[in-house]
Symmetry: C2
Subunit: 329 residues, 2 copies
Protein backbone atom coordinates (compact mmCIF):
# COMPACT_ATOMS: atom_id res chain seq x y z
CA UNK A 1 0.00 0.00 0.00
CA UNK A 2 1.10 3.56 -0.76
CA UNK A 3 0.92 6.31 1.84
CA UNK A 4 -1.50 8.16 -0.41
CA UNK A 5 -4.03 5.34 -0.04
CA UNK A 6 -4.35 5.72 3.73
CA UNK A 7 -7.47 7.29 5.18
CA UNK A 8 -6.29 10.52 6.81
CA UNK A 9 -5.54 11.53 9.50
CA UNK A 10 -3.21 8.57 10.07
CA UNK A 11 -0.20 7.93 12.30
CA UNK A 12 2.98 7.27 10.36
CA UNK A 13 6.09 5.67 11.80
CA UNK A 14 9.32 6.21 9.89
CA UNK A 15 10.87 2.73 9.73
CA UNK A 16 14.46 3.94 9.59
CA UNK A 17 14.06 6.47 12.39
CA UNK A 18 12.42 3.83 14.57
CA UNK A 19 15.20 1.33 13.91
CA UNK A 20 17.78 4.01 14.70
CA UNK A 21 16.05 4.81 17.98
CA UNK A 22 15.65 1.21 19.08
CA UNK A 23 19.24 0.36 18.16
CA UNK A 24 20.68 3.48 19.82
CA UNK A 25 18.87 2.76 23.08
CA UNK A 26 19.77 -0.94 23.03
CA UNK A 27 23.45 0.05 22.96
CA UNK A 28 23.08 2.68 25.68
CA UNK A 29 20.91 0.58 27.99
CA UNK A 30 21.20 -3.07 26.95
CA UNK A 31 18.87 -5.85 28.09
CA UNK A 32 17.29 -5.38 31.49
CA UNK A 33 18.94 -1.96 32.00
CA UNK A 34 15.97 -0.70 29.98
CA UNK A 35 12.41 -1.55 30.97
CA UNK A 36 10.62 0.02 27.98
CA UNK A 37 7.44 1.87 28.90
CA UNK A 38 4.63 0.81 26.59
CA UNK A 39 2.37 3.73 27.52
CA UNK A 40 4.12 5.85 24.89
CA UNK A 41 3.11 3.66 21.93
CA UNK A 42 0.43 1.28 23.32
CA UNK A 43 1.33 -1.21 20.62
CA UNK A 44 2.41 -4.82 21.16
CA UNK A 45 3.87 -5.05 17.64
CA UNK A 46 6.28 -2.26 18.53
CA UNK A 47 6.96 -3.83 21.95
CA UNK A 48 7.97 -7.02 20.13
CA UNK A 49 10.65 -5.04 18.27
CA UNK A 50 11.90 -3.74 21.62
CA UNK A 51 11.99 -7.29 22.95
CA UNK A 52 13.91 -8.37 19.84
CA UNK A 53 16.54 -5.77 20.79
CA UNK A 54 17.01 -7.58 24.11
CA UNK A 55 14.59 -5.84 26.44
CA UNK A 56 12.35 -8.54 27.88
CA UNK A 57 10.97 -6.65 30.88
CA UNK A 58 8.40 -3.91 30.29
CA UNK A 59 6.73 -1.05 32.10
CA UNK A 60 2.98 -0.47 31.85
CA UNK A 61 0.74 2.36 33.08
CA UNK A 62 -2.64 0.62 33.05
CA UNK A 63 -4.13 -2.78 33.78
CA UNK A 64 -5.20 -3.00 30.16
CA UNK A 65 -1.59 -2.57 29.04
CA UNK A 66 -0.48 -5.40 31.31
CA UNK A 67 -3.26 -7.63 30.00
CA UNK A 68 -2.43 -6.85 26.39
CA UNK A 69 1.28 -7.46 26.83
CA UNK A 70 0.58 -10.79 28.55
CA UNK A 71 -1.80 -11.81 25.76
CA UNK A 72 0.87 -10.94 23.18
CA UNK A 73 3.37 -13.29 24.81
CA UNK A 74 5.41 -10.48 26.30
CA UNK A 75 4.69 -11.36 29.92
CA UNK A 76 8.16 -12.36 31.13
CA UNK A 77 8.37 -9.44 33.55
CA UNK A 78 5.67 -6.78 33.47
CA UNK A 79 5.75 -3.87 35.89
CA UNK A 80 2.56 -1.89 36.40
CA UNK A 81 4.28 1.32 37.47
CA UNK A 82 1.06 2.68 38.87
CA UNK A 83 -1.24 2.22 41.83
CA UNK A 84 -4.45 0.23 41.48
CA UNK A 85 -7.26 -0.46 43.91
CA UNK A 86 -8.57 -3.54 42.12
CA UNK A 87 -5.81 -5.91 41.07
CA UNK A 88 -8.03 -8.90 40.33
CA UNK A 89 -7.51 -8.69 36.56
CA UNK A 90 -3.74 -8.68 37.16
CA UNK A 91 -3.80 -11.67 39.47
CA UNK A 92 -5.53 -13.79 36.84
CA UNK A 93 -2.86 -13.30 34.18
CA UNK A 94 -0.46 -15.96 32.97
CA UNK A 95 2.52 -13.60 33.27
CA UNK A 96 4.98 -12.29 35.83
CA UNK A 97 3.28 -9.16 37.13
CA UNK A 98 4.74 -6.69 39.59
CA UNK A 99 2.67 -3.75 40.76
CA UNK A 100 3.66 -0.45 42.37
CA UNK A 101 2.29 0.19 45.87
CA UNK A 102 2.51 3.34 47.95
CA UNK A 103 -0.09 2.81 50.68
CA UNK A 104 -1.67 0.17 52.87
CA UNK A 105 -4.72 0.19 50.59
CA UNK A 106 -2.71 -0.59 47.46
CA UNK A 107 -0.86 -3.35 49.30
CA UNK A 108 -4.18 -4.86 50.34
CA UNK A 109 -5.43 -4.54 46.75
CA UNK A 110 -2.38 -6.49 45.50
CA UNK A 111 -2.96 -9.23 48.08
CA UNK A 112 -6.68 -9.43 47.40
CA UNK A 113 -6.14 -9.45 43.63
CA UNK A 114 -3.63 -12.29 43.76
CA UNK A 115 -0.59 -10.29 42.65
CA UNK A 116 2.54 -11.74 44.23
CA UNK A 117 5.24 -9.13 43.66
CA UNK A 118 5.43 -5.41 44.28
CA UNK A 119 7.74 -2.42 44.12
CA UNK A 120 7.52 0.29 46.72
CA UNK A 121 6.67 3.48 44.80
CA UNK A 122 8.59 6.39 46.31
CA UNK A 123 7.82 10.06 45.79
CA UNK A 124 11.05 11.64 44.57
CA UNK A 125 9.75 15.17 44.02
CA UNK A 126 7.03 14.99 41.38
CA UNK A 127 3.68 15.78 42.99
CA UNK A 128 2.06 12.49 42.04
CA UNK A 129 2.04 8.97 43.45
CA UNK A 130 4.67 7.46 45.74
CA UNK A 131 5.10 7.31 49.49
CA UNK A 132 7.40 9.72 51.33
CA UNK A 133 10.96 8.29 51.15
CA UNK A 134 11.08 7.89 54.91
CA UNK A 135 8.02 5.65 54.89
CA UNK A 136 9.31 3.24 52.24
CA UNK A 137 10.90 0.79 54.67
CA UNK A 138 7.80 0.57 56.80
CA UNK A 139 5.58 0.01 53.75
CA UNK A 140 7.92 -2.73 52.54
CA UNK A 141 7.61 -4.38 55.93
CA UNK A 142 3.82 -4.26 55.70
CA UNK A 143 3.91 -5.74 52.21
CA UNK A 144 6.17 -8.58 53.30
CA UNK A 145 4.00 -9.25 56.34
CA UNK A 146 1.06 -9.72 53.98
CA UNK A 147 2.99 -12.33 52.01
CA UNK A 148 4.10 -10.15 49.10
CA UNK A 149 7.57 -10.27 47.58
CA UNK A 150 9.10 -6.80 47.53
CA UNK A 151 11.39 -6.61 44.51
CA UNK A 152 12.70 -3.14 45.30
CA UNK A 153 11.71 0.46 44.69
CA UNK A 154 10.62 2.77 41.91
CA UNK A 155 10.41 6.55 41.79
CA UNK A 156 9.65 8.72 38.81
CA UNK A 157 11.55 12.00 38.46
CA UNK A 158 8.92 13.38 36.09
CA UNK A 159 9.53 16.97 37.17
CA UNK A 160 13.11 16.69 35.89
CA UNK A 161 13.05 14.64 32.70
CA UNK A 162 11.58 17.28 30.40
CA UNK A 163 13.82 20.21 31.35
CA UNK A 164 15.61 21.69 28.35
CA UNK A 165 18.71 22.64 30.34
CA UNK A 166 20.80 19.51 30.68
CA UNK A 167 22.69 20.81 33.71
CA UNK A 168 19.50 21.56 35.58
CA UNK A 169 18.13 18.20 34.51
CA UNK A 170 21.18 16.45 35.92
CA UNK A 171 20.90 18.33 39.21
CA UNK A 172 17.23 17.52 39.68
CA UNK A 173 17.67 13.88 38.68
CA UNK A 174 20.51 13.54 41.19
CA UNK A 175 18.45 15.12 43.96
CA UNK A 176 15.49 12.88 43.16
CA UNK A 177 17.56 9.74 43.05
CA UNK A 178 19.14 10.54 46.41
CA UNK A 179 15.65 10.01 47.85
CA UNK A 180 15.19 6.78 45.92
CA UNK A 181 18.58 5.33 46.88
CA UNK A 182 17.88 6.11 50.53
CA UNK A 183 14.47 4.46 50.28
CA UNK A 184 16.03 1.45 48.58
CA UNK A 185 18.44 1.03 51.48
CA UNK A 186 15.44 0.68 53.78
CA UNK A 187 13.42 -1.53 51.42
CA UNK A 188 15.99 -3.86 49.87
CA UNK A 189 15.39 -5.95 46.77
CA UNK A 190 17.10 -6.10 43.39
CA UNK A 191 15.29 -3.32 41.58
CA UNK A 192 15.79 0.43 41.56
CA UNK A 193 13.45 1.50 38.76
CA UNK A 194 13.14 5.09 37.55
CA UNK A 195 13.80 7.38 34.66
CA UNK A 196 12.45 8.26 31.28
CA UNK A 197 13.71 9.16 27.83
CA UNK A 198 14.83 12.55 29.14
CA UNK A 199 17.07 11.00 31.82
CA UNK A 200 18.10 7.73 30.18
CA UNK A 201 21.79 8.70 30.07
CA UNK A 202 21.75 10.80 33.25
CA UNK A 203 20.08 8.54 35.74
CA UNK A 204 22.92 6.28 36.83
CA UNK A 205 21.36 5.54 40.23
CA UNK A 206 18.51 3.45 38.91
CA UNK A 207 19.42 0.00 37.65
CA UNK A 208 16.57 0.00 35.16
CA UNK A 209 15.16 2.90 33.16
CA UNK A 210 11.46 3.21 32.27
CA UNK A 211 11.89 5.06 28.97
CA UNK A 212 9.15 4.91 26.37
CA UNK A 213 9.11 8.01 24.17
CA UNK A 214 12.57 7.30 22.70
CA UNK A 215 11.10 4.83 20.19
CA UNK A 216 8.84 7.32 18.40
CA UNK A 217 9.73 10.70 19.96
CA UNK A 218 7.85 13.99 19.89
CA UNK A 219 8.70 17.69 19.61
CA UNK A 220 8.80 18.18 23.40
CA UNK A 221 11.59 15.61 23.76
CA UNK A 222 13.24 16.72 20.51
CA UNK A 223 14.16 20.00 22.24
CA UNK A 224 16.46 18.13 24.60
CA UNK A 225 19.06 17.28 21.95
CA UNK A 226 18.84 13.53 22.52
CA UNK A 227 20.24 11.08 19.94
CA UNK A 228 16.75 9.89 18.96
CA UNK A 229 14.95 10.83 15.76
CA UNK A 230 11.37 11.95 15.25
CA UNK A 231 9.78 8.74 14.00
CA UNK A 232 6.14 9.68 14.48
CA UNK A 233 4.07 12.06 12.37
CA UNK A 234 0.38 12.49 11.67
CA UNK A 235 -0.39 12.28 7.97
CA UNK A 236 -3.13 14.68 6.88
CA UNK A 237 -4.73 15.91 3.68
CA UNK A 238 -4.92 19.59 2.76
CA UNK A 239 -8.67 20.17 2.36
CA UNK A 240 -8.76 23.94 1.87
CA UNK A 241 -6.37 26.70 0.82
CA UNK A 242 -7.23 30.32 1.54
CA UNK A 243 -6.27 33.27 -0.66
CA UNK A 244 -5.21 34.86 2.63
CA UNK A 245 -2.12 32.65 2.75
CA UNK A 246 -3.12 29.84 5.07
CA UNK A 247 -4.16 26.27 4.43
CA UNK A 248 -6.24 23.74 6.35
CA UNK A 249 -5.55 20.02 6.78
CA UNK A 250 -7.79 17.33 8.30
CA UNK A 251 -5.84 16.71 11.49
CA UNK A 252 -7.15 18.21 14.70
CA UNK A 253 -7.66 17.82 18.42
CA UNK A 254 -9.00 14.29 17.99
CA UNK A 255 -5.85 13.11 16.25
CA UNK A 256 -3.16 14.85 18.28
CA UNK A 257 -2.84 16.01 21.88
CA UNK A 258 -2.27 19.65 22.79
CA UNK A 259 -1.19 19.43 26.44
CA UNK A 260 2.44 20.11 25.47
CA UNK A 261 1.44 22.89 23.08
CA UNK A 262 0.93 23.17 19.36
CA UNK A 263 2.35 20.63 16.93
CA UNK A 264 4.87 21.50 14.22
CA UNK A 265 4.52 21.09 10.48
CA UNK A 266 7.18 18.72 9.12
CA UNK A 267 9.26 20.68 6.66
CA UNK A 268 8.28 24.03 8.10
CA UNK A 269 5.23 26.23 8.28
CA UNK A 270 3.47 28.05 11.06
CA UNK A 271 0.56 26.45 12.90
CA UNK A 272 -2.14 29.04 13.58
CA UNK A 273 -4.97 27.10 15.22
CA UNK A 274 -5.94 23.51 15.88
CA UNK A 275 -9.63 22.70 16.22
CA UNK A 276 -11.50 19.42 16.55
CA UNK A 277 -10.87 18.09 13.05
CA UNK A 278 -8.65 20.79 11.50
CA UNK A 279 -5.21 22.31 11.62
CA UNK A 280 -4.84 25.77 10.11
CA UNK A 281 -1.27 26.62 9.07
CA UNK A 282 0.74 29.03 7.01
CA UNK A 283 2.74 26.76 4.70
CA UNK A 284 6.46 27.21 4.14
CA UNK A 285 6.09 26.89 0.38
CA UNK A 286 2.98 26.52 -1.73
CA UNK A 287 0.41 23.82 -1.02
CA UNK A 288 -2.64 22.74 -2.98
CA UNK A 289 -5.92 21.15 -2.00
CA UNK A 290 -5.33 17.40 -1.96
CA UNK A 291 -1.68 17.59 -0.94
CA UNK A 292 -0.52 15.37 1.90
CA UNK A 293 1.25 17.02 4.83
CA UNK A 294 2.83 15.57 7.94
CA UNK A 295 2.53 16.98 11.43
CA UNK A 296 4.85 16.45 14.39
CA UNK A 297 2.90 16.14 17.66
CA UNK A 298 4.22 17.87 20.76
CA UNK A 299 3.38 14.92 23.01
CA UNK A 300 3.35 11.39 21.72
CA UNK A 301 1.52 9.44 24.44
CA UNK A 302 -1.90 11.10 24.34
CA UNK A 303 -1.58 11.48 20.56
CA UNK A 304 -1.17 7.76 19.88
CA UNK A 305 -4.05 7.02 22.27
CA UNK A 306 -6.47 8.65 19.79
CA UNK A 307 -5.61 6.27 16.96
CA UNK A 308 -6.44 2.73 15.92
CA UNK A 309 -3.22 2.03 14.04
CA UNK A 310 0.42 2.95 13.54
CA UNK A 311 1.55 2.67 9.93
CA UNK A 312 5.21 1.77 9.47
CA UNK A 313 6.52 3.28 6.25
CA UNK A 314 9.62 3.83 4.16
CA UNK A 315 9.59 6.29 1.28
CA UNK A 316 6.13 6.15 -0.20
CA UNK A 317 5.33 2.63 0.93
CA UNK A 318 3.36 1.43 3.96
CA UNK A 319 5.34 -1.59 5.16
CA UNK A 320 3.08 -2.71 8.00
CA UNK A 321 0.04 -1.44 9.88
CA UNK A 322 0.08 -2.14 13.60
CA UNK A 323 -2.92 -2.01 15.93
CA UNK A 324 -2.65 0.40 18.84
CA UNK A 325 -3.95 -2.51 20.87
CA UNK A 326 -3.13 -1.40 24.41
CA UNK A 327 -5.55 1.53 24.54
CA UNK A 328 -8.06 2.10 27.33
CA UNK A 329 -8.11 0.79 30.84
Amino acid sequence: MRIGELVTPALLVDADALEHNLATMAVALPGARLRPHVKAHKCTALAKLQAAKGHKSFTCATIREVEGMAAAGLGDDLLLANEVLDASRLGRLDARVTVAVDSLQTIEAAVKGGVKEVLIDVNVGLPRCGCPPDNAGELAGMAKSRGLTVRGVMGYEGHAVGLDDRGLRQELVAASMAHLVKAHAAVGGDIISAGATGSYDINTWANEIQAGSYALMDTAYAKLGLPFKQALTVLATVISVSPDGYAVANCGLKSLAMDHGKPDMLGGGDVLIVSDEHITFVPEGSVAVGDLVRILPAHIDPTVAYHQQLHLFRGDEVLESWDVDLRWW
Copy 2:
Protein backbone atom coordinates in the same frame (compact mmCIF):
# COMPACT_ATOMS: atom_id res chain seq x y z
CA MET B 1 -24.84 -1.81 37.69
CA ARG B 2 -23.58 0.65 40.28
CA ILE B 3 -21.19 3.48 39.41
CA GLY B 4 -18.63 1.95 41.75
CA GLU B 5 -18.45 -1.16 39.56
CA LEU B 6 -17.24 0.72 36.48
CA VAL B 7 -13.62 0.41 35.43
CA THR B 8 -12.16 3.90 35.87
CA PRO B 9 -11.57 6.30 34.23
CA ALA B 10 -15.07 6.28 32.73
CA LEU B 11 -17.30 8.88 31.11
CA LEU B 12 -20.49 9.54 33.05
CA VAL B 13 -23.56 11.25 31.63
CA ASP B 14 -26.02 12.67 34.16
CA ALA B 15 -29.41 11.48 32.88
CA ASP B 16 -31.37 14.40 34.30
CA ALA B 17 -28.93 17.05 33.08
CA LEU B 18 -28.93 15.49 29.60
CA GLU B 19 -32.73 15.43 29.49
CA HIS B 20 -32.82 19.05 30.64
CA ASN B 21 -30.38 20.06 27.91
CA LEU B 22 -32.14 18.18 25.12
CA ALA B 23 -35.55 19.50 26.17
CA THR B 24 -34.33 23.08 26.57
CA MET B 25 -32.80 23.11 23.11
CA ALA B 26 -35.81 21.43 21.50
CA VAL B 27 -37.97 24.30 22.75
CA ALA B 28 -35.50 26.99 21.68
CA LEU B 29 -34.75 25.49 18.26
CA PRO B 30 -37.47 22.98 17.39
CA GLY B 31 -37.25 20.41 14.64
CA ALA B 32 -35.12 21.37 11.66
CA ARG B 33 -34.10 24.70 13.25
CA LEU B 34 -31.45 22.60 14.99
CA ARG B 35 -29.13 20.33 13.04
CA PRO B 36 -27.37 18.68 16.00
CA HIS B 37 -23.64 18.24 15.53
CA VAL B 38 -22.65 14.69 16.42
CA LYS B 39 -18.92 15.47 16.63
CA ALA B 40 -19.40 16.55 20.25
CA HIS B 41 -20.61 13.14 21.47
CA LYS B 42 -19.83 10.71 18.62
CA CYS B 43 -22.60 8.46 19.85
CA THR B 44 -25.59 7.24 17.82
CA ALA B 45 -27.51 6.28 20.98
CA LEU B 46 -27.39 9.92 22.06
CA ALA B 47 -28.22 11.08 18.53
CA LYS B 48 -31.36 8.93 18.69
CA LEU B 49 -32.48 10.88 21.76
CA GLN B 50 -31.94 14.09 19.80
CA ALA B 51 -34.00 12.66 16.94
CA ALA B 52 -36.73 11.71 19.41
CA LYS B 53 -36.86 15.39 20.40
CA GLY B 54 -37.72 16.24 16.80
CA HIS B 55 -34.34 16.91 15.20
CA LYS B 56 -34.10 14.58 12.21
CA SER B 57 -31.29 16.32 10.34
CA PHE B 58 -27.75 16.05 11.68
CA THR B 59 -24.33 17.61 11.23
CA CYS B 60 -21.19 15.47 11.00
CA ALA B 61 -17.50 16.36 10.90
CA THR B 62 -16.05 13.17 9.44
CA ILE B 63 -16.94 10.57 6.84
CA ARG B 64 -16.98 7.98 9.62
CA GLU B 65 -19.63 9.95 11.48
CA VAL B 66 -21.82 10.07 8.37
CA GLU B 67 -21.38 6.33 7.84
CA GLY B 68 -22.21 5.53 11.45
CA MET B 69 -25.30 7.73 11.49
CA ALA B 70 -26.55 6.15 8.27
CA ALA B 71 -25.95 2.66 9.66
CA ALA B 72 -27.89 3.59 12.80
CA GLY B 73 -30.94 4.54 10.76
CA LEU B 74 -30.43 8.27 11.26
CA GLY B 75 -29.73 9.05 7.61
CA ASP B 76 -32.74 11.25 6.77
CA ASP B 77 -30.57 14.32 6.18
CA LEU B 78 -26.89 14.18 7.03
CA LEU B 79 -24.64 17.16 6.43
CA LEU B 80 -20.90 16.59 6.36
CA ALA B 81 -19.96 20.13 7.36
CA ASN B 82 -16.42 19.60 6.22
CA GLU B 83 -14.40 19.33 3.05
CA VAL B 84 -13.31 15.93 1.73
CA LEU B 85 -11.15 14.95 -1.21
CA ASP B 86 -12.45 11.39 -1.45
CA ALA B 87 -16.23 11.20 -1.20
CA SER B 88 -16.58 7.64 -2.47
CA ARG B 89 -17.58 6.25 0.93
CA LEU B 90 -20.28 8.92 1.16
CA GLY B 91 -21.68 8.22 -2.29
CA ARG B 92 -22.22 4.57 -1.44
CA LEU B 93 -24.45 5.23 1.58
CA ASP B 94 -28.16 4.55 1.75
CA ALA B 95 -28.86 7.98 3.23
CA ARG B 96 -29.37 11.60 2.18
CA VAL B 97 -25.88 13.04 2.29
CA THR B 98 -24.93 16.65 1.71
CA VAL B 99 -21.30 17.68 1.77
CA ALA B 100 -19.65 21.08 2.21
CA VAL B 101 -17.54 22.32 -0.70
CA ASP B 102 -15.33 25.39 -0.88
CA SER B 103 -13.18 24.76 -3.97
CA LEU B 104 -13.21 23.26 -7.42
CA GLN B 105 -11.36 20.23 -6.06
CA THR B 106 -13.97 19.49 -3.39
CA ILE B 107 -16.74 19.91 -5.97
CA GLU B 108 -14.99 17.41 -8.23
CA ALA B 109 -14.56 15.06 -5.27
CA ALA B 110 -18.31 15.19 -4.57
CA VAL B 111 -19.09 14.45 -8.24
CA LYS B 112 -16.57 11.64 -8.47
CA GLY B 113 -17.72 10.12 -5.18
CA GLY B 114 -21.34 10.05 -6.19
CA VAL B 115 -22.60 12.63 -3.70
CA LYS B 116 -25.56 14.50 -5.15
CA GLU B 117 -26.05 17.50 -2.86
CA VAL B 118 -23.73 20.16 -1.51
CA LEU B 119 -23.62 23.32 0.56
CA ILE B 120 -21.24 26.10 -0.37
CA ASP B 121 -18.98 26.53 2.68
CA VAL B 122 -18.28 30.23 3.19
CA ASN B 123 -15.50 31.69 5.29
CA VAL B 124 -17.16 34.09 7.73
CA GLY B 125 -14.07 35.10 9.67
CA LEU B 126 -12.65 31.99 11.30
CA PRO B 127 -9.31 31.14 9.67
CA ARG B 128 -10.35 27.67 8.56
CA CYS B 129 -12.30 26.24 5.63
CA GLY B 130 -14.76 28.11 3.44
CA CYS B 131 -14.46 30.15 0.28
CA PRO B 132 -14.31 33.95 0.34
CA PRO B 133 -17.92 35.23 0.50
CA ASP B 134 -17.53 36.94 -2.87
CA ASN B 135 -16.66 33.64 -4.56
CA ALA B 136 -19.64 31.70 -3.25
CA GLY B 137 -21.92 32.43 -6.21
CA GLU B 138 -19.30 31.40 -8.72
CA LEU B 139 -18.59 28.17 -6.84
CA ALA B 140 -22.30 27.39 -6.70
CA GLY B 141 -22.44 27.87 -10.46
CA MET B 142 -19.57 25.45 -10.92
CA ALA B 143 -21.25 22.89 -8.68
CA LYS B 144 -24.53 23.18 -10.58
CA SER B 145 -22.74 22.90 -13.91
CA ARG B 146 -21.30 19.60 -12.71
CA GLY B 147 -24.76 18.27 -11.94
CA LEU B 148 -24.79 18.85 -8.19
CA THR B 149 -27.77 20.22 -6.29
CA VAL B 150 -26.73 23.24 -4.24
CA ARG B 151 -28.92 23.31 -1.13
CA GLY B 152 -27.57 26.61 0.15
CA VAL B 153 -24.66 27.84 2.25
CA MET B 154 -22.93 27.17 5.54
CA GLY B 155 -20.41 29.25 7.46
CA TYR B 156 -19.06 28.62 10.92
CA GLU B 157 -18.49 31.60 13.18
CA GLY B 158 -16.10 29.60 15.37
CA HIS B 159 -14.09 32.68 16.33
CA ALA B 160 -17.21 34.13 17.98
CA VAL B 161 -19.08 31.30 19.66
CA GLY B 162 -16.74 30.82 22.62
CA LEU B 163 -16.39 34.45 23.69
CA ASP B 164 -17.40 34.99 27.33
CA ASP B 165 -18.73 38.50 26.68
CA ARG B 166 -22.22 38.12 25.26
CA GLY B 167 -22.23 41.58 23.69
CA LEU B 168 -19.00 40.93 21.86
CA ARG B 169 -20.27 37.53 20.85
CA GLN B 170 -23.40 39.09 19.38
CA GLU B 171 -21.36 41.65 17.47
CA LEU B 172 -19.03 39.07 15.95
CA VAL B 173 -21.86 36.68 15.10
CA ALA B 174 -23.71 39.51 13.35
CA ALA B 175 -20.62 40.52 11.38
CA SER B 176 -19.97 36.90 10.39
CA MET B 177 -23.52 36.28 9.34
CA ALA B 178 -23.56 39.41 7.19
CA HIS B 179 -20.99 37.60 5.04
CA LEU B 180 -23.06 34.43 4.99
CA VAL B 181 -26.32 36.16 4.12
CA LYS B 182 -24.58 37.98 1.27
CA ALA B 183 -23.14 34.72 0.01
CA HIS B 184 -26.53 33.08 0.27
CA ALA B 185 -28.05 35.77 -1.94
CA ALA B 186 -25.57 34.78 -4.63
CA VAL B 187 -25.92 31.04 -4.11
CA GLY B 188 -29.60 30.49 -3.44
CA GLY B 189 -31.08 27.33 -1.96
CA ASP B 190 -33.13 26.67 1.17
CA ILE B 191 -30.37 26.31 3.72
CA ILE B 192 -28.35 28.85 5.68
CA SER B 193 -26.48 26.65 8.14
CA ALA B 194 -24.20 28.01 10.87
CA GLY B 195 -23.82 28.38 14.58
CA ALA B 196 -22.91 26.39 17.62
CA THR B 197 -23.96 26.04 21.23
CA GLY B 198 -22.41 29.43 22.00
CA SER B 199 -24.54 31.23 19.40
CA TYR B 200 -27.69 29.09 19.38
CA ASP B 201 -29.88 31.95 20.66
CA ILE B 202 -27.91 34.75 18.98
CA ASN B 203 -27.59 33.56 15.44
CA THR B 204 -30.95 34.53 13.95
CA TRP B 205 -29.58 34.78 10.40
CA ALA B 206 -29.00 31.08 9.94
CA ASN B 207 -32.12 28.97 9.49
CA GLU B 208 -30.47 25.94 11.06
CA ILE B 209 -27.97 25.82 13.91
CA GLN B 210 -25.16 23.24 14.10
CA ALA B 211 -24.95 22.98 17.89
CA GLY B 212 -23.47 19.88 19.50
CA SER B 213 -21.94 20.64 22.88
CA TYR B 214 -25.28 21.69 24.45
CA ALA B 215 -26.22 18.05 25.07
CA LEU B 216 -23.30 17.22 27.38
CA MET B 217 -21.54 20.58 27.90
CA ASP B 218 -18.04 21.33 29.22
CA THR B 219 -16.42 23.96 31.43
CA ALA B 220 -15.46 26.18 28.48
CA TYR B 221 -19.09 26.57 27.44
CA ALA B 222 -20.26 26.68 31.08
CA LYS B 223 -18.55 30.06 31.40
CA LEU B 224 -21.00 31.56 28.91
CA GLY B 225 -23.99 31.37 31.25
CA LEU B 226 -26.09 29.28 28.87
CA PRO B 227 -29.19 27.42 30.13
CA PHE B 228 -27.52 24.03 29.69
CA LYS B 229 -26.19 21.89 32.55
CA GLN B 230 -22.91 20.04 32.84
CA ALA B 231 -23.97 16.50 32.00
CA LEU B 232 -20.54 15.00 31.34
CA THR B 233 -17.90 14.09 33.92
CA VAL B 234 -15.00 11.68 34.00
CA LEU B 235 -15.26 9.25 36.88
CA ALA B 236 -11.90 8.42 38.45
CA THR B 237 -10.54 6.58 41.47
CA VAL B 238 -8.24 8.20 44.03
CA ILE B 239 -5.16 6.00 43.94
CA SER B 240 -2.79 7.96 46.18
CA VAL B 241 -3.05 10.61 48.90
CA SER B 242 0.01 12.59 49.90
CA PRO B 243 0.74 13.88 53.40
CA ASP B 244 1.57 17.14 51.60
CA GLY B 245 -2.12 17.81 51.01
CA TYR B 246 -2.70 16.63 47.47
CA ALA B 247 -4.28 13.53 46.04
CA VAL B 248 -3.95 11.64 42.77
CA ALA B 249 -6.72 10.05 40.71
CA ASN B 250 -6.46 7.77 37.67
CA CYS B 251 -7.69 10.20 35.02
CA GLY B 252 -5.13 11.85 32.79
CA LEU B 253 -4.27 13.12 29.34
CA LYS B 254 -5.58 9.94 27.71
CA SER B 255 -9.02 10.37 29.22
CA LEU B 256 -9.55 14.11 28.86
CA ALA B 257 -8.36 16.78 26.44
CA MET B 258 -6.33 19.78 27.57
CA ASP B 259 -6.57 22.14 24.57
CA HIS B 260 -9.05 24.37 26.44
CA GLY B 261 -7.01 24.20 29.64
CA LYS B 262 -7.18 22.21 32.83
CA PRO B 263 -10.31 20.40 33.91
CA ASP B 264 -12.18 21.17 37.14
CA MET B 265 -12.92 18.85 40.04
CA LEU B 266 -16.67 18.44 40.55
CA GLY B 267 -17.48 19.73 44.02
CA GLY B 268 -14.35 21.83 44.25
CA GLY B 269 -10.62 21.31 44.57
CA ASP B 270 -7.62 22.68 42.78
CA VAL B 271 -6.09 20.78 39.86
CA LEU B 272 -2.28 20.96 40.03
CA ILE B 273 -1.07 18.82 37.14
CA VAL B 274 -2.47 16.38 34.62
CA SER B 275 -0.15 13.73 33.22
CA ASP B 276 -0.74 10.75 30.97
CA GLU B 277 -2.74 8.64 33.41
CA HIS B 278 -3.00 10.90 36.48
CA ILE B 279 -4.61 14.02 37.79
CA THR B 280 -3.00 15.60 40.86
CA PHE B 281 -5.34 17.84 42.82
CA VAL B 282 -5.74 19.54 46.17
CA PRO B 283 -9.11 18.31 47.39
CA GLU B 284 -11.73 20.64 48.81
CA GLY B 285 -12.37 18.38 51.79
CA SER B 286 -10.67 15.15 52.78
CA VAL B 287 -10.31 12.26 50.36
CA ALA B 288 -9.10 8.72 50.89
CA VAL B 289 -7.44 6.17 48.64
CA GLY B 290 -10.22 4.31 46.86
CA ASP B 291 -12.67 7.22 46.81
CA LEU B 292 -14.39 8.03 43.53
CA VAL B 293 -14.10 11.58 42.20
CA ARG B 294 -15.61 13.24 39.15
CA ILE B 295 -13.83 15.61 36.82
CA LEU B 296 -15.33 18.21 34.50
CA PRO B 297 -13.43 18.42 31.21
CA ALA B 298 -12.71 21.80 29.68
CA HIS B 299 -13.51 20.62 26.15
CA ILE B 300 -15.95 17.85 25.51
CA ASP B 301 -15.30 16.85 21.88
CA PRO B 302 -11.70 15.63 22.13
CA THR B 303 -12.43 14.21 25.59
CA VAL B 304 -15.21 11.91 24.40
CA ALA B 305 -13.05 10.82 21.45
CA TYR B 306 -10.69 9.06 23.89
CA HIS B 307 -13.38 6.77 25.28
CA GLN B 308 -15.21 3.61 24.27
CA GLN B 309 -18.43 4.30 26.15
CA LEU B 310 -20.67 6.90 27.73
CA HIS B 311 -22.40 5.67 30.87
CA LEU B 312 -25.81 7.22 31.53
CA PHE B 313 -26.47 7.35 35.26
CA ARG B 314 -28.85 8.62 37.90
CA GLY B 315 -27.85 8.67 41.55
CA ASP B 316 -25.59 5.67 42.07
CA GLU B 317 -27.01 3.59 39.23
CA VAL B 318 -25.70 3.13 35.69
CA LEU B 319 -28.86 3.14 33.56
CA GLU B 320 -27.31 2.45 30.16
CA SER B 321 -23.87 2.22 28.59
CA TRP B 322 -23.62 3.66 25.10
CA ASP B 323 -20.84 2.99 22.63
CA VAL B 324 -18.95 6.03 21.38
CA ASP B 325 -19.41 4.46 17.97
CA LEU B 326 -18.64 7.40 15.67
CA ARG B 327 -14.93 7.69 16.53
CA TRP B 328 -12.15 7.81 13.95
CA TRP B 329 -12.26 8.71 10.33
